[in-house]
Protein backbone atom coordinates (compact mmCIF):
# COMPACT_ATOMS: atom_id res chain seq x y z
CA UNK A 1 0.00 0.00 0.00
CA UNK A 2 1.11 3.55 -0.61
CA UNK A 3 -0.25 5.05 2.57
CA UNK A 4 -0.82 3.40 5.90
CA UNK A 5 -3.31 5.11 8.19
CA UNK A 6 -4.57 4.63 11.69
CA UNK A 7 -8.26 5.11 12.40
CA UNK A 8 -9.17 5.48 16.07
CA UNK A 9 -12.70 5.78 17.40
CA UNK A 10 -14.03 6.35 20.87
CA UNK A 11 -15.90 3.35 22.19
CA UNK A 12 -18.25 0.61 21.08
CA UNK A 13 -21.53 2.18 20.00
CA UNK A 14 -23.14 1.98 16.56
CA UNK A 15 -22.16 5.54 15.72
CA UNK A 16 -18.48 4.71 15.68
CA UNK A 17 -19.09 1.33 14.10
CA UNK A 18 -20.69 3.19 11.22
CA UNK A 19 -17.66 5.42 10.96
CA UNK A 20 -15.34 2.45 10.96
CA UNK A 21 -17.37 0.77 8.23
CA UNK A 22 -17.24 3.91 6.12
CA UNK A 23 -13.48 4.01 6.50
CA UNK A 24 -13.31 0.36 5.48
CA UNK A 25 -15.38 1.17 2.42
CA UNK A 26 -13.00 4.00 1.60
CA UNK A 27 -10.02 1.69 1.86
CA UNK A 28 -11.70 -0.85 -0.35
CA UNK A 29 -12.41 1.79 -2.96
CA UNK A 30 -8.85 3.16 -2.85
CA UNK A 31 -6.41 0.26 -3.21
CA UNK A 32 -3.43 2.42 -2.30
CA UNK A 33 -4.76 3.05 1.20
CA UNK A 34 -4.25 0.65 4.08
CA UNK A 35 -6.04 1.41 7.32
CA UNK A 36 -5.57 -0.15 10.75
CA UNK A 37 -8.28 0.34 13.32
CA UNK A 38 -8.46 0.92 17.03
CA UNK A 39 -11.11 1.79 19.56
CA UNK A 40 -11.19 2.82 23.20
CA UNK A 41 -13.05 0.64 25.66
CA UNK A 42 -15.42 3.23 27.09
CA UNK A 43 -16.48 6.84 26.97
CA UNK A 44 -13.79 7.68 29.48
CA UNK A 45 -10.96 5.50 28.24
CA UNK A 46 -8.36 8.24 27.76
CA UNK A 47 -5.39 6.05 28.56
CA UNK A 48 -6.61 3.44 26.06
CA UNK A 49 -6.65 5.94 23.23
CA UNK A 50 -3.21 7.20 24.13
CA UNK A 51 -1.86 3.66 24.02
CA UNK A 52 -3.47 3.21 20.60
CA UNK A 53 -1.90 6.38 19.24
CA UNK A 54 1.48 5.24 20.46
CA UNK A 55 1.28 1.73 19.13
CA UNK A 56 0.06 2.96 15.74
CA UNK A 57 3.04 5.29 15.53
CA UNK A 58 5.20 2.31 16.38
CA UNK A 59 3.70 0.48 13.45
CA UNK A 60 4.75 3.29 11.16
CA UNK A 61 1.46 4.83 10.08
CA UNK A 62 1.78 8.05 8.14
CA UNK A 63 -1.45 9.50 9.39
CA UNK A 64 -4.00 9.07 12.14
CA UNK A 65 -7.66 9.93 11.92
CA UNK A 66 -9.07 10.05 15.42
CA UNK A 67 -12.22 10.90 17.31
CA UNK A 68 -10.56 12.17 20.48
CA UNK A 69 -12.41 10.97 23.54
CA UNK A 70 -10.94 13.75 25.64
CA UNK A 71 -8.84 16.87 24.98
CA UNK A 72 -6.02 15.34 26.93
CA UNK A 73 -4.96 12.93 24.20
CA UNK A 74 -3.39 16.00 22.59
CA UNK A 75 0.09 15.52 23.93
CA UNK A 76 0.21 11.96 22.62
CA UNK A 77 -0.82 13.37 19.25
CA UNK A 78 1.90 16.00 19.59
CA UNK A 79 4.45 13.25 19.87
CA UNK A 80 3.06 11.45 16.87
CA UNK A 81 3.15 14.67 14.84
CA UNK A 82 6.71 15.26 15.97
CA UNK A 83 7.65 11.91 14.46
CA UNK A 84 6.11 12.92 11.15
CA UNK A 85 2.57 11.59 11.46
CA UNK A 86 -0.30 13.69 10.12
CA UNK A 87 -3.42 13.92 12.27
CA UNK A 88 -7.03 14.54 11.34
CA UNK A 89 -9.60 14.95 14.08
CA UNK A 90 -13.11 13.69 13.61
CA UNK A 91 -16.34 14.17 15.51
CA UNK A 92 -15.03 16.81 17.87
CA UNK A 93 -12.16 19.21 18.16
CA UNK A 94 -9.60 19.64 20.89
CA UNK A 95 -10.04 23.15 22.22
CA UNK A 96 -6.85 25.15 22.11
CA UNK A 97 -4.98 22.58 20.04
CA UNK A 98 -4.40 23.50 16.43
CA UNK A 99 -1.89 21.03 15.08
CA UNK A 100 -4.42 18.88 13.29
CA UNK A 101 -4.34 18.92 9.51
CA UNK A 102 -8.10 19.07 9.48
CA UNK A 103 -11.20 18.61 11.60
CA UNK A 104 -14.13 16.68 10.18
CA UNK A 105 -17.07 17.12 12.48
CA UNK A 106 -20.61 17.63 13.19
CA UNK A 107 -20.40 20.62 15.39
CA UNK A 108 -22.17 19.18 18.40
CA UNK A 109 -22.95 22.60 19.69
CA UNK A 110 -24.63 23.58 16.44
CA UNK A 111 -26.41 20.26 16.27
CA UNK A 112 -27.67 20.81 19.79
CA UNK A 113 -28.97 24.16 18.61
CA UNK A 114 -31.08 22.37 16.00
CA UNK A 115 -32.74 20.41 18.80
CA UNK A 116 -33.19 23.60 20.79
CA UNK A 117 -34.81 25.36 17.89
CA UNK A 118 -37.23 22.49 17.46
CA UNK A 119 -38.10 22.63 21.15
CA UNK A 120 -38.59 26.38 20.89
CA UNK A 121 -41.10 25.79 18.13
CA UNK A 122 -43.25 23.46 20.22
CA UNK A 123 -42.87 24.84 23.74
CA UNK A 124 -44.04 28.04 25.25
CA UNK A 125 -42.55 30.19 27.94
CA UNK A 126 -42.67 28.69 31.45
CA UNK A 127 -42.91 25.09 30.27
CA UNK A 128 -40.94 22.47 32.15
CA UNK A 129 -38.02 20.64 30.55
CA UNK A 130 -36.02 17.67 31.82
CA UNK A 131 -32.57 16.92 30.46
CA UNK A 132 -30.97 13.49 30.26
CA UNK A 133 -27.29 14.23 29.94
CA UNK A 134 -24.78 11.88 28.39
CA UNK A 135 -21.52 11.04 30.11
CA UNK A 136 -20.61 13.76 32.58
CA UNK A 137 -17.39 15.47 31.64
CA UNK A 138 -17.29 14.49 27.96
CA UNK A 139 -17.14 17.82 26.06
CA UNK A 140 -18.91 16.68 22.87
CA UNK A 141 -21.89 15.46 24.88
CA UNK A 142 -21.91 18.52 27.11
CA UNK A 143 -21.96 20.66 23.97
CA UNK A 144 -25.16 19.03 22.83
CA UNK A 145 -26.88 20.26 25.96
CA UNK A 146 -25.30 23.70 25.85
CA UNK A 147 -26.21 24.06 22.18
CA UNK A 148 -29.80 23.04 22.86
CA UNK A 149 -30.13 25.62 25.62
CA UNK A 150 -28.72 28.21 23.22
CA UNK A 151 -31.14 27.05 20.55
CA UNK A 152 -34.08 27.76 22.79
CA UNK A 153 -33.04 31.32 22.04
CA UNK A 154 -34.56 33.39 24.77
CA UNK A 155 -37.55 31.17 25.38
CA UNK A 156 -37.60 30.83 29.16
CA UNK A 157 -38.34 27.25 30.00
CA UNK A 158 -37.92 25.82 33.48
CA UNK A 159 -35.23 23.14 33.55
CA UNK A 160 -36.52 20.83 36.26
CA UNK A 161 -33.91 18.12 36.07
CA UNK A 162 -30.47 17.34 34.68
CA UNK A 163 -29.14 13.86 35.31
CA UNK A 164 -26.39 11.79 33.83
CA UNK A 165 -27.26 8.57 32.03
CA UNK A 166 -23.82 7.47 30.84
CA UNK A 167 -25.61 7.19 27.50
CA UNK A 168 -27.20 3.93 28.63
CA UNK A 169 -30.77 2.89 28.14
CA UNK A 170 -31.07 1.41 31.63
CA UNK A 171 -30.23 4.65 33.37
CA UNK A 172 -32.27 6.53 30.76
CA UNK A 173 -35.41 4.70 31.85
CA UNK A 174 -34.80 5.16 35.57
CA UNK A 175 -33.90 8.82 35.34
CA UNK A 176 -36.81 9.63 33.04
CA UNK A 177 -39.20 7.79 35.33
CA UNK A 178 -38.01 9.81 38.27
CA UNK A 179 -38.29 13.03 36.24
CA UNK A 180 -41.88 12.21 35.41
CA UNK A 181 -42.65 11.34 39.01
CA UNK A 182 -41.19 14.55 40.35
CA UNK A 183 -42.87 16.60 37.66
CA UNK A 184 -46.19 15.00 36.73
CA UNK A 185 -46.90 17.84 34.34
CA UNK A 186 -43.55 17.70 32.60
CA UNK A 187 -43.75 19.20 29.13
CA UNK A 188 -40.55 18.07 27.47
CA UNK A 189 -37.54 15.80 27.74
CA UNK A 190 -34.28 16.23 25.90
CA UNK A 191 -31.80 13.36 25.77
CA UNK A 192 -28.23 14.02 24.70
CA UNK A 193 -27.71 10.61 23.15
CA UNK A 194 -29.69 7.80 21.56
CA UNK A 195 -30.01 5.07 24.20
CA UNK A 196 -31.42 7.29 26.96
CA UNK A 197 -33.84 8.80 24.44
CA UNK A 198 -35.16 5.31 23.77
CA UNK A 199 -35.24 4.75 27.52
CA UNK A 200 -37.22 7.93 28.06
CA UNK A 201 -39.71 6.82 25.44
CA UNK A 202 -40.19 3.61 27.39
CA UNK A 203 -40.56 5.46 30.66
CA UNK A 204 -43.30 7.61 29.17
CA UNK A 205 -45.04 4.50 27.90
CA UNK A 206 -44.66 2.72 31.25
CA UNK A 207 -46.05 5.70 33.11
CA UNK A 208 -49.14 5.47 30.98
CA UNK A 209 -48.79 9.01 29.75
CA UNK A 210 -50.29 9.79 26.38
CA UNK A 211 -47.49 9.97 23.78
CA UNK A 212 -48.42 13.49 22.76
CA UNK A 213 -48.42 14.92 26.27
CA UNK A 214 -44.65 15.03 26.56
CA UNK A 215 -42.31 16.31 23.89
CA UNK A 216 -39.35 14.00 23.63
CA UNK A 217 -36.32 15.04 21.65
CA UNK A 218 -33.30 12.81 21.30
CA UNK A 219 -29.93 12.86 19.64
CA UNK A 220 -28.06 10.45 17.33
CA UNK A 221 -31.06 8.71 15.73
CA UNK A 222 -29.99 5.30 16.88
CA UNK A 223 -30.51 2.57 19.39
CA UNK A 224 -34.28 2.35 19.47
CA UNK A 225 -35.13 5.90 18.56
CA UNK A 226 -36.51 4.72 15.26
CA UNK A 227 -39.16 2.64 17.03
CA UNK A 228 -39.87 5.48 19.43
CA UNK A 229 -40.43 7.88 16.56
CA UNK A 230 -42.64 5.40 14.76
CA UNK A 231 -44.69 4.89 17.91
CA UNK A 232 -45.09 8.61 18.18
CA UNK A 233 -43.59 8.81 21.66
CA UNK A 234 -40.45 10.53 20.49
CA UNK A 235 -41.07 13.66 18.50
CA UNK A 236 -37.75 14.48 16.99
CA UNK A 237 -34.08 13.69 17.08
CA UNK A 238 -30.90 15.06 15.63
CA UNK A 239 -28.98 12.90 13.20
CA UNK A 240 -25.38 13.24 12.32
CA UNK A 241 -23.75 11.69 9.33
CA UNK A 242 -21.03 9.50 10.73
CA UNK A 243 -20.30 7.75 7.45
CA UNK A 244 -19.82 11.03 5.68
CA UNK A 245 -17.72 12.32 8.54
CA UNK A 246 -15.41 9.33 8.39
CA UNK A 247 -15.12 9.40 4.63
CA UNK A 248 -14.34 13.10 4.55
CA UNK A 249 -11.89 12.77 7.41
CA UNK A 250 -9.93 9.90 5.88
CA UNK A 251 -9.93 11.58 2.50
CA UNK A 252 -8.57 14.79 4.00
CA UNK A 253 -5.90 12.80 5.77
CA UNK A 254 -4.79 11.03 2.58
CA UNK A 255 -4.62 14.31 0.78
CA UNK A 256 -2.71 16.00 3.58
CA UNK A 257 -0.15 13.21 3.53
CA UNK A 258 0.37 13.61 -0.18
CA UNK A 259 1.07 17.27 0.44
CA UNK A 260 -2.19 18.80 -0.75
CA UNK A 261 -3.85 21.65 1.04
CA UNK A 262 -6.98 20.66 2.88
CA UNK A 263 -9.56 22.91 4.49
CA UNK A 264 -9.04 22.98 8.22
CA UNK A 265 -12.75 22.59 9.03
CA UNK A 266 -14.92 20.06 7.29
CA UNK A 267 -18.50 20.08 8.54
CA UNK A 268 -20.37 16.90 7.85
CA UNK A 269 -23.54 18.50 9.11
CA UNK A 270 -26.50 17.45 11.15
CA UNK A 271 -30.21 17.46 10.59
CA UNK A 272 -33.47 17.22 12.44
CA UNK A 273 -35.23 13.90 12.08
CA UNK A 274 -38.94 13.54 12.58
CA UNK A 275 -41.45 10.84 11.76
CA UNK A 276 -42.06 12.42 8.37
CA UNK A 277 -38.50 12.52 7.05
CA UNK A 278 -37.26 9.53 8.99
CA UNK A 279 -36.89 7.23 6.01
CA UNK A 280 -34.25 9.50 4.47
CA UNK A 281 -31.85 8.88 7.32
CA UNK A 282 -31.73 5.11 7.64
Amino acid sequence: ADVKLGFITKFPVPFFATMENAAKAYAAANPGVEIIYGQGASATDVEGQIALIESMSTQGVQGIAITPVDPTVASALDKAIASGVKVVLMDNSIPGWDKAAALATTDNYNAGKIAGQYLKSVLSAGDTLGILEGVPGVPALDDRVKGMLEGLGGLTVEVVGRSGTNCTEELGISVAEDLLTANPDLKAIYAACGPPAAGAARAIKNAGIAPDKVVLVGFDFCCGEEEALTAGVEDATVAQFPAKMAELGVDALVRAISGEDVPSLIDSGAALVTLENMSDFK
Binding site: N166, E169, I173, S174, E177, L179, P195, N206
Partner: protein, 352 residues
Protein backbone atom coordinates in the same frame (compact mmCIF):
# COMPACT_ATOMS: atom_id res chain seq x y z
CA UNK B 1 -11.62 -5.01 63.49
CA UNK B 2 -11.56 -4.74 67.20
CA UNK B 3 -11.99 -7.95 69.06
CA UNK B 4 -14.97 -6.79 71.00
CA UNK B 5 -16.64 -6.08 67.72
CA UNK B 6 -16.65 -9.66 66.66
CA UNK B 7 -19.40 -10.51 69.08
CA UNK B 8 -21.55 -7.73 67.80
CA UNK B 9 -21.05 -8.74 64.24
CA UNK B 10 -21.83 -12.35 64.86
CA UNK B 11 -24.90 -11.40 66.70
CA UNK B 12 -25.97 -9.12 63.92
CA UNK B 13 -25.27 -11.84 61.41
CA UNK B 14 -27.21 -14.73 62.77
CA UNK B 15 -30.87 -14.61 63.45
CA UNK B 16 -30.54 -17.89 65.31
CA UNK B 17 -28.55 -16.37 68.10
CA UNK B 18 -31.15 -13.93 69.06
CA UNK B 19 -33.79 -16.31 70.18
CA UNK B 20 -31.73 -17.45 73.14
CA UNK B 21 -32.07 -14.51 75.44
CA UNK B 22 -35.58 -13.41 74.63
CA UNK B 23 -37.80 -14.69 77.39
CA UNK B 24 -39.65 -12.56 79.93
CA UNK B 25 -38.02 -9.33 81.27
CA UNK B 26 -38.21 -5.57 81.42
CA UNK B 27 -40.69 -4.75 78.70
CA UNK B 28 -39.22 -1.47 77.43
CA UNK B 29 -35.77 -2.86 76.87
CA UNK B 30 -37.24 -5.88 75.22
CA UNK B 31 -39.26 -3.85 72.74
CA UNK B 32 -36.27 -1.66 71.91
CA UNK B 33 -34.16 -4.75 71.43
CA UNK B 34 -36.61 -6.50 69.14
CA UNK B 35 -36.66 -3.31 67.15
CA UNK B 36 -32.90 -2.95 67.03
CA UNK B 37 -32.27 -6.55 66.21
CA UNK B 38 -34.21 -6.19 62.97
CA UNK B 39 -30.85 -5.15 61.57
CA UNK B 40 -30.25 -3.12 58.45
CA UNK B 41 -33.97 -3.17 57.74
CA UNK B 42 -34.54 -0.47 60.31
CA UNK B 43 -31.91 1.70 58.70
CA UNK B 44 -33.81 1.30 55.46
CA UNK B 45 -37.10 2.13 57.15
CA UNK B 46 -35.57 5.18 58.76
CA UNK B 47 -34.26 6.27 55.39
CA UNK B 48 -37.66 5.84 53.77
CA UNK B 49 -39.38 7.78 56.54
CA UNK B 50 -36.93 10.66 56.22
CA UNK B 51 -37.30 10.75 52.46
CA UNK B 52 -41.08 10.58 52.65
CA UNK B 53 -41.14 13.76 54.64
CA UNK B 54 -38.40 15.58 52.79
CA UNK B 55 -38.89 14.61 49.16
CA UNK B 56 -42.12 15.51 47.41
CA UNK B 57 -43.71 12.71 45.38
CA UNK B 58 -41.46 10.17 47.06
CA UNK B 59 -43.98 8.07 48.92
CA UNK B 60 -46.55 7.81 46.16
CA UNK B 61 -47.77 4.50 44.75
CA UNK B 62 -46.43 5.37 41.36
CA UNK B 63 -42.96 6.25 42.61
CA UNK B 64 -42.76 3.20 44.84
CA UNK B 65 -43.70 1.13 41.85
CA UNK B 66 -40.97 2.85 39.84
CA UNK B 67 -38.38 2.16 42.50
CA UNK B 68 -39.35 -1.49 42.62
CA UNK B 69 -38.96 -1.75 38.86
CA UNK B 70 -35.66 0.10 38.94
CA UNK B 71 -34.05 -2.13 41.53
CA UNK B 72 -35.34 -5.45 40.23
CA UNK B 73 -32.25 -6.25 38.19
CA UNK B 74 -29.78 -5.23 40.89
CA UNK B 75 -31.76 -7.18 43.47
CA UNK B 76 -31.92 -10.43 41.53
CA UNK B 77 -28.26 -10.34 40.59
CA UNK B 78 -27.30 -9.31 44.13
CA UNK B 79 -29.01 -12.45 45.46
CA UNK B 80 -26.70 -14.59 43.35
CA UNK B 81 -23.74 -12.43 44.24
CA UNK B 82 -24.57 -12.99 47.90
CA UNK B 83 -24.30 -16.76 47.56
CA UNK B 84 -20.88 -16.32 46.01
CA UNK B 85 -19.81 -13.94 48.76
CA UNK B 86 -21.07 -16.44 51.33
CA UNK B 87 -18.37 -18.83 50.10
CA UNK B 88 -15.74 -16.09 50.39
CA UNK B 89 -15.81 -15.47 46.65
CA UNK B 90 -16.61 -12.58 44.37
CA UNK B 91 -18.27 -12.45 40.97
CA UNK B 92 -17.10 -9.50 38.89
CA UNK B 93 -18.58 -10.86 35.69
CA UNK B 94 -22.27 -10.33 36.49
CA UNK B 95 -22.77 -7.20 34.40
CA UNK B 96 -21.09 -8.52 31.29
CA UNK B 97 -22.79 -11.85 31.78
CA UNK B 98 -26.19 -10.18 31.84
CA UNK B 99 -25.35 -8.18 28.71
CA UNK B 100 -24.28 -11.28 26.85
CA UNK B 101 -27.47 -13.05 27.89
CA UNK B 102 -29.67 -10.23 26.58
CA UNK B 103 -27.79 -10.24 23.27
CA UNK B 104 -28.17 -13.98 22.89
CA UNK B 105 -31.84 -13.67 23.81
CA UNK B 106 -32.35 -10.99 21.20
CA UNK B 107 -30.57 -13.13 18.61
CA UNK B 108 -32.76 -16.07 19.51
CA UNK B 109 -35.80 -13.85 19.11
CA UNK B 110 -34.76 -13.37 15.50
CA UNK B 111 -34.98 -17.13 15.09
CA UNK B 112 -38.17 -17.78 17.00
CA UNK B 113 -40.60 -15.65 18.90
CA UNK B 114 -41.48 -18.37 21.37
CA UNK B 115 -40.98 -16.63 24.70
CA UNK B 116 -40.01 -19.87 26.38
CA UNK B 117 -37.11 -20.52 24.06
CA UNK B 118 -35.82 -16.95 24.34
CA UNK B 119 -36.02 -17.08 28.12
CA UNK B 120 -34.32 -20.44 28.23
CA UNK B 121 -31.54 -19.04 26.04
CA UNK B 122 -30.90 -16.20 28.45
CA UNK B 123 -30.98 -18.44 31.50
CA UNK B 124 -28.67 -20.96 29.88
CA UNK B 125 -26.26 -18.28 28.73
CA UNK B 126 -26.10 -16.82 32.21
CA UNK B 127 -25.62 -20.21 33.81
CA UNK B 128 -22.96 -21.14 31.29
CA UNK B 129 -20.79 -18.12 32.07
CA UNK B 130 -21.31 -18.80 35.77
CA UNK B 131 -20.28 -22.40 35.29
CA UNK B 132 -17.11 -21.33 33.50
CA UNK B 133 -16.29 -19.04 36.40
CA UNK B 134 -16.80 -21.78 38.95
CA UNK B 135 -15.12 -24.57 37.05
CA UNK B 136 -12.01 -22.64 36.05
CA UNK B 137 -11.67 -21.20 39.54
CA UNK B 138 -11.99 -24.51 41.34
CA UNK B 139 -10.40 -26.95 38.95
CA UNK B 140 -7.83 -24.48 37.66
CA UNK B 141 -6.89 -24.16 41.35
CA UNK B 142 -6.73 -20.40 41.01
CA UNK B 143 -5.81 -18.55 44.19
CA UNK B 144 -8.85 -16.27 44.06
CA UNK B 145 -12.01 -15.90 41.95
CA UNK B 146 -11.15 -12.26 41.28
CA UNK B 147 -9.04 -13.17 38.27
CA UNK B 148 -11.35 -15.55 36.48
CA UNK B 149 -14.45 -13.43 36.97
CA UNK B 150 -12.54 -10.35 35.82
CA UNK B 151 -11.52 -12.35 32.77
CA UNK B 152 -15.07 -13.50 31.99
CA UNK B 153 -16.23 -9.92 32.49
CA UNK B 154 -13.92 -8.96 29.67
CA UNK B 155 -14.66 -12.02 27.56
CA UNK B 156 -18.44 -11.85 27.90
CA UNK B 157 -18.49 -8.16 27.10
CA UNK B 158 -16.34 -8.77 24.03
CA UNK B 159 -18.52 -11.66 22.90
CA UNK B 160 -21.67 -9.65 23.42
CA UNK B 161 -20.29 -6.82 21.30
CA UNK B 162 -19.07 -9.20 18.63
CA UNK B 163 -22.36 -11.09 18.48
CA UNK B 164 -24.75 -8.18 18.58
CA UNK B 165 -25.70 -7.32 15.05
CA UNK B 166 -24.27 -3.92 14.19
CA UNK B 167 -22.69 -3.85 17.63
CA UNK B 168 -25.75 -2.23 19.01
CA UNK B 169 -29.00 -2.46 20.81
CA UNK B 170 -31.12 -5.17 19.28
CA UNK B 171 -34.78 -4.33 19.46
CA UNK B 172 -37.57 -6.77 20.04
CA UNK B 173 -38.58 -9.30 22.67
CA UNK B 174 -41.46 -11.77 22.84
CA UNK B 175 -44.58 -10.33 24.46
CA UNK B 176 -44.37 -12.59 27.50
CA UNK B 177 -40.92 -11.30 28.34
CA UNK B 178 -42.05 -7.73 27.90
CA UNK B 179 -44.89 -8.35 30.31
CA UNK B 180 -42.59 -9.96 32.84
CA UNK B 181 -39.95 -7.26 32.64
CA UNK B 182 -42.06 -4.21 31.97
CA UNK B 183 -45.67 -4.93 32.97
CA UNK B 184 -47.44 -4.37 36.24
CA UNK B 185 -50.07 -6.28 38.18
CA UNK B 186 -52.15 -4.43 40.74
CA UNK B 187 -49.90 -1.41 40.17
CA UNK B 188 -46.87 -3.42 41.23
CA UNK B 189 -44.24 -4.21 38.63
CA UNK B 190 -44.21 -7.84 37.61
CA UNK B 191 -40.46 -7.81 37.88
CA UNK B 192 -40.85 -7.24 41.59
CA UNK B 193 -42.78 -10.49 41.90
CA UNK B 194 -39.99 -12.22 40.05
CA UNK B 195 -37.52 -10.80 42.57
CA UNK B 196 -39.70 -12.04 45.42
CA UNK B 197 -39.99 -15.47 43.87
CA UNK B 198 -36.23 -15.78 43.35
CA UNK B 199 -35.59 -14.51 46.87
CA UNK B 200 -38.08 -16.98 48.35
CA UNK B 201 -36.52 -19.85 46.44
CA UNK B 202 -33.04 -18.85 47.55
CA UNK B 203 -34.22 -18.47 51.10
CA UNK B 204 -35.64 -21.97 51.14
CA UNK B 205 -32.46 -23.35 49.64
CA UNK B 206 -30.20 -21.49 52.04
CA UNK B 207 -32.22 -22.20 55.11
CA UNK B 208 -33.94 -25.50 54.69
CA UNK B 209 -31.95 -27.51 52.23
CA UNK B 210 -28.84 -29.57 52.71
CA UNK B 211 -27.14 -27.78 49.90
CA UNK B 212 -27.70 -24.40 51.54
CA UNK B 213 -26.23 -25.65 54.78
CA UNK B 214 -23.18 -26.79 52.84
CA UNK B 215 -22.77 -23.33 51.35
CA UNK B 216 -22.62 -21.86 54.84
CA UNK B 217 -20.24 -24.59 55.98
CA UNK B 218 -17.89 -24.08 53.03
CA UNK B 219 -17.97 -20.34 53.59
CA UNK B 220 -17.37 -20.69 57.30
CA UNK B 221 -14.42 -23.06 57.28
CA UNK B 222 -13.44 -24.49 53.89
CA UNK B 223 -10.88 -26.88 55.34
CA UNK B 224 -13.27 -28.26 57.90
CA UNK B 225 -15.94 -28.65 55.24
CA UNK B 226 -13.61 -30.78 53.18
CA UNK B 227 -12.73 -32.91 56.19
CA UNK B 228 -16.40 -33.42 56.96
CA UNK B 229 -16.83 -34.91 53.51
CA UNK B 230 -18.71 -32.00 51.98
CA UNK B 231 -18.08 -31.80 48.24
CA UNK B 232 -16.49 -28.38 48.58
CA UNK B 233 -15.58 -28.01 44.93
CA UNK B 234 -19.06 -28.76 43.71
CA UNK B 235 -20.60 -26.43 46.26
CA UNK B 236 -18.37 -23.58 45.16
CA UNK B 237 -19.02 -24.21 41.49
CA UNK B 238 -22.73 -24.29 42.20
CA UNK B 239 -22.70 -20.83 43.75
CA UNK B 240 -21.11 -19.34 40.66
CA UNK B 241 -23.57 -21.23 38.53
CA UNK B 242 -26.47 -19.80 40.51
CA UNK B 243 -24.98 -16.35 40.32
CA UNK B 244 -24.83 -16.77 36.56
CA UNK B 245 -28.41 -18.02 36.51
CA UNK B 246 -29.45 -14.92 38.43
CA UNK B 247 -27.77 -12.87 35.71
CA UNK B 248 -29.95 -14.78 33.27
CA UNK B 249 -33.05 -13.85 35.26
CA UNK B 250 -31.79 -10.27 35.41
CA UNK B 251 -31.34 -10.38 31.64
CA UNK B 252 -34.96 -11.43 31.19
CA UNK B 253 -36.15 -8.60 33.42
CA UNK B 254 -33.99 -5.95 31.78
CA UNK B 255 -34.58 -6.98 28.20
CA UNK B 256 -38.29 -7.24 28.99
CA UNK B 257 -38.25 -3.76 30.42
CA UNK B 258 -36.37 -2.28 27.47
CA UNK B 259 -37.74 -4.68 24.83
CA UNK B 260 -34.22 -5.13 23.61
CA UNK B 261 -30.88 -6.78 24.12
CA UNK B 262 -27.69 -4.78 24.21
CA UNK B 263 -24.01 -5.49 24.76
CA UNK B 264 -23.79 -2.31 26.82
CA UNK B 265 -26.24 -3.36 29.53
CA UNK B 266 -25.11 -4.09 33.05
CA UNK B 267 -22.29 -1.60 33.16
CA UNK B 268 -20.75 -1.56 36.67
CA UNK B 269 -23.43 -3.96 37.88
CA UNK B 270 -20.70 -5.84 39.76
CA UNK B 271 -20.00 -2.86 42.01
CA UNK B 272 -23.70 -2.19 42.54
CA UNK B 273 -24.49 -5.76 43.52
CA UNK B 274 -21.49 -6.18 45.79
CA UNK B 275 -22.34 -2.87 47.40
CA UNK B 276 -25.93 -4.03 47.89
CA UNK B 277 -24.78 -7.19 49.61
CA UNK B 278 -22.36 -5.37 51.88
CA UNK B 279 -24.67 -2.44 52.62
CA UNK B 280 -27.31 -4.98 53.51
CA UNK B 281 -24.98 -6.12 56.26
CA UNK B 282 -23.38 -9.29 54.94
CA UNK B 283 -19.72 -9.96 55.56
CA UNK B 284 -16.81 -10.78 53.29
CA UNK B 285 -15.70 -13.24 55.98
CA UNK B 286 -17.78 -16.01 54.47
CA UNK B 287 -20.56 -18.13 55.86
CA UNK B 288 -22.25 -15.23 57.58
CA UNK B 289 -25.24 -13.24 56.55
CA UNK B 290 -28.87 -13.56 55.69
CA UNK B 291 -30.01 -13.47 52.07
CA UNK B 292 -32.50 -10.76 52.96
CA UNK B 293 -29.48 -8.50 53.38
CA UNK B 294 -28.91 -8.39 49.65
CA UNK B 295 -32.50 -7.31 49.06
CA UNK B 296 -32.37 -4.62 51.71
CA UNK B 297 -29.11 -3.33 50.25
CA UNK B 298 -30.47 -3.24 46.71
CA UNK B 299 -33.59 -1.38 47.84
CA UNK B 300 -31.46 1.07 49.76
CA UNK B 301 -29.34 1.88 46.72
CA UNK B 302 -32.45 2.23 44.57
CA UNK B 303 -34.20 4.49 47.07
CA UNK B 304 -31.21 6.80 47.36
CA UNK B 305 -30.78 7.16 43.61
CA UNK B 306 -34.47 7.74 43.13
CA UNK B 307 -34.68 10.40 45.81
CA UNK B 308 -31.71 12.28 44.39
CA UNK B 309 -33.34 12.26 40.97
CA UNK B 310 -36.62 13.47 42.42
CA UNK B 311 -34.82 16.26 44.22
CA UNK B 312 -33.25 17.33 40.94
CA UNK B 313 -29.83 17.20 42.53
CA UNK B 314 -27.17 18.20 40.04
CA UNK B 315 -25.44 15.34 38.39
CA UNK B 316 -22.03 15.80 39.91
CA UNK B 317 -23.42 16.47 43.28
CA UNK B 318 -25.41 13.24 43.02
CA UNK B 319 -22.19 11.28 42.83
CA UNK B 320 -20.99 12.97 45.99
CA UNK B 321 -24.29 12.54 47.78
CA UNK B 322 -24.57 8.85 46.93
CA UNK B 323 -21.14 8.24 48.39
CA UNK B 324 -21.90 10.12 51.57
CA UNK B 325 -25.32 8.57 52.10
CA UNK B 326 -24.07 5.03 51.56
CA UNK B 327 -21.34 5.46 54.16
CA UNK B 328 -23.84 7.01 56.54
CA UNK B 329 -26.24 4.11 56.08
CA UNK B 330 -23.57 1.54 56.79
CA UNK B 331 -22.22 3.54 59.68
CA UNK B 332 -25.67 3.76 61.26
CA UNK B 333 -25.91 0.02 61.04
CA UNK B 334 -22.58 -0.29 62.82
CA UNK B 335 -23.84 1.99 65.56
CA UNK B 336 -27.15 0.13 65.72
CA UNK B 337 -25.18 -3.06 66.25
CA UNK B 338 -23.22 -1.57 69.11
CA UNK B 339 -26.33 -0.20 70.71
CA UNK B 340 -27.96 -3.58 70.44
CA UNK B 341 -24.99 -5.31 72.03
CA UNK B 342 -24.93 -2.82 74.88
CA UNK B 343 -28.65 -3.12 75.53
CA UNK B 344 -28.38 -6.86 75.51
CA UNK B 345 -25.80 -6.67 78.29
CA UNK B 346 -28.06 -4.36 80.22
CA UNK B 347 -31.00 -6.68 79.72
CA UNK B 348 -28.99 -9.64 80.93
CA UNK B 349 -28.11 -7.54 83.96
CA UNK B 350 -31.73 -6.85 84.87
CA UNK B 351 -32.46 -10.56 84.70
CA UNK B 352 -29.81 -11.10 87.39
Amino acid sequence: MKEGQVDARFRGGSPDMRKGAEKGHAAGLSVALTFLSAGPVIILIALVVILTFSVPNFFTPRNISNILAQIAVIAVVALGQHLVILTRGIDLSVGANLALATVLGALMYRVTDTAFVVMATMLLAGAAVGAVNGLVYVYGRLPHPFIITLATLSIARGLALELSIGHTTMRGMPATITVIGGGTSFAVPNSFFVVLAVAALMFVIARYMVWGRWIYAVGGQPDAARRMGIPVNQVIVSTYLISGLCCGVGAILLSGRTEAGSPLYGNLLELDTIAAVIIGGASFLGGRGHLGHALVGAVMIGVIRNALNLLNVNLYFQLIAIGVIIVMAVESDVLRNHLEARMRVKQAGTQG
